[in-house]
Amino acid sequence: MGGRLELTRRGFVASAVATLVVSMRLTQPGSAQAAPDESGGGLLNPFISVDKQGNVRLVAPAFDMGQGTHTSLAMILCDELGANWEQVTVVGPEVDPAFVVPGINEQATHGSFMVRNWHDPLRKAAAAAREMLVQAAATRWNVDPASCEVSAGLITSAGNSLGFGDLIEDASRLPVPENPQVRNTKVLVGTPTKRIDIPSKVNGSAKFGIDVRLPGMVYAAIRQAPVYGSKLESVSSPAESSDNIKIVELPSAVIAIADTFWKAKSAVEGFSVVFATSDNDALTSSDITAQRTRQLDEGTVARPIVSGDPDAALAATSDGVSGNLVTATYTTPFLAHMTMEPMNCTVWMKDGKCEIWVPTQGLSATVTAAAAATGLSKDNIVVHPTTPGGGFGRKYEADFVVQAIAAAKATDRPVQLIWTREEDIQHDFYRPAMTGRLTAALSPEGDMNAFIMRKVGPSIVEHMIGSALIDGSDPIAWLGFGSQTKTAPGELQQYAVENVAAEFVFQPTHVPIGFWRSVGAGENGFFIESFVDELAHSAHIDPYEFRRRLLRESPRGRAVLDKAASEAGWGNPLPTGHFHGIAFTDVVGSLVAQVAEVSMNDGTPTVHRMVVAVDCGTAINPDSVIAQMQGAVVMGLSSALNEQVEIADGRCMPSNFYDYHVHGLADTPRIDVHIIDSSEPLGGVGEAGVPAVAPALANAIFAASGRRIRSLPIMANL
């Protein structure tokens, strides 16, 4: 791949990364054919089957970790099919090429891709299934299929009426239409719909990975090397133990297996374990940050994005007369996921197969890792994905799967490996700590003529594919800088700026990094929207007005910004001591603006209210969109205010929720969400709300105190 990276193309990151992913995880083409089953029902396609009673079984090809994808995807299928929602049950996907996500070439749930990438293919599959049922009815009644109406699981024509259950056997013998007529029926779609997974989540019956129970199952606990990458040297257990404990040694960890988790955990905590010394044993967060700061000017700079001539535009301001040059440097820390369900995996090595039960976002990744760890072919890897108790990108990884396999190999029973919270926070794949230096040229009238952002830090794409960079940069680092919509006016999200450059300096770290809800867009939102605010203040222009001008070629962006500002009452009197801050982001193909209302008390910020406006094209399940924005705001506030993984002695210092503060109910302000339906192509939702939170908050703190926050978390940098 050569040449300029085009981040303005929708799905660029998906296609670039997917191309690389495909080379590692080859998927086979093909899909199930329609066929009747033995009990008078039938399969119409991999997503839709119907039984004789007319019950419809839908496969929602995503992992629902609370973002509501099972419901949203099933709503799409149900509406296009014309089924009766009361007769619908929804299941998640098994390993099957039919469920490989279009555009990302793997079975996974990440990138806020599920609804926007599956919508059209599912509409098409459901339309084909509908036409097969209609054809079966039309044949039976000897009428024109065009005369048949489909609604709520019934097909009618003139005086005739039959339910799906009566027609399924015939329908499933028909050929699958290749070009069905997609009607885009909206019965459920676009209306707030109760989520199908919620009832089991209020009575304790929902089963997460950690709840898997199998006959004869035993439990495993693990102690991993505190300093990343350091090797296990020796393990010894106390001489006397009344419990039957099995010990499994891994390159950088030791596992204890017992018949209950408490016994396994107690045992592993009682071992004397020695890990080898390493070069990283003295590293601290300060060292890591200082190195990035040095590399801003000493490192090799790649320029993956450039438009116009930003260098000339900046040079033109050097006289101080034809404009101003503004520059600022920002940093963000490592962040932990803290999914409420800690990492866990259950494995049974049996009859030449490896059977796995796992709360996962990465089904293909799990199969690939298991095949490598066992030496078995993929046909002999059987994976049962369970509901994840929180994912946020962490459960895309397979490290805990490989460990569970090692434990399972030591016994003929099923083994459930559970990480303690301490292991979970200390062996995360953190949002990487990054540094960004931003420089802009402002005309005397306050127009932004040039924008250059230089980012220094490790590469997430390296973590995915093993090779660090594509054209000297990590495309994932530029999420939220470029747009995934098709209507961005230039290279910098929705802003009308001609002279733009994105610069990347690769600075690896021994600290493991990975995907943390909104990934690169997370720190980019803080860097870019804090800096845009600095520019506004430097030009003595209201920050909302300043952004309106930047959005002059994006009516869609303006609508979102205006909505947030007007609902928040921007410019109207606020209670004494209350101030507003605003931010606008273009993330996962959706446009989000947020206004924070803050007061300062004894130098500490109190957040009173967050107002969110979101345009995700169309809200399939509006209540899920609201819920995702609420949750993203909470996570955004928590991470902006308090979260950082401090590294000292080469290791993660926090060990549990008591020294890594995650927002609670009492910390949470009023959050108002407003959805704008632009009917533009679907944008993602799960991650869309996170990036605007930190800058909206930091900008409000500046308005309230004159204090410019350039480093997160806020409470450590006031």
Partner: protein, 152 residues
């Protein structure tokens, strides 16, 4: 052998006296509705009722439980005569859960709160409900608590 009374039923358990109730429930009795989140009494995912009080079961050893009346999420509905409790019905009406993992403990904590304060203020809610939800369902939790308090 230790006898435990859980959700109105007697169970006999063989485990070390220092074994926390959380693991007795989950591993000895396969009652997985009560969740493990931190093991340190901080997150509340393991909340049950012991003698009517909301208690974090990861902090209560087996040896402390003789003669205790334990109620878990599985037994909550049966306490109100089967069906859903007001809290559970409110949780569905407000569509509170996202991933759902914290919600057993959250519902147990809230159920105990509403026994203590029939119509809690926001300040009382803030002080008493300290369970952690990483998905950030707090705005809906607050709304559902008020809704449940209003239900007859």
């Amino acid at each position: 052998m230790t006898k435990l009374r859980i959700n109105g039923k007697e169970h006999s358990v063989l485990a070390a006296p220092d074994t926390p109730l959380l693991w007795i429930l989950r591993d000895n009795l396969d009652m997985t509705g009560t969740k493990f989140g931190c093991g340190a009494g901080v997150c509340g995912a393991c909340t049950v009722h012991i003698d009517g009080e909301a208690t974090r079961s990861c902090q209560v050893p087996l040896s402390d439980l003789e003669d205790s009346d334990i109620v878990t999420i599985e037994g909550l509905a049966s306490q109100s005569g089967g069906g859903l409790t007001k809290v559970q019905a409110s949780w569905i009406a407000e569509q509170v859960p996202q991933c759902g993992y914290c919600q057993s403990g959250m519902i147990m904590a809230v159920s105990a709160l509403l026994e203590k304060y029939a119509k809690p203020t926001d300040e009382q809610i803030d002080a008493e409900i300290t369970n952690i939800c990483r998905c950030g369902t707090y705005p809906r939790i607050r709304a559902a608590i008020h809704r449940a308090a209003e239900m007859a």
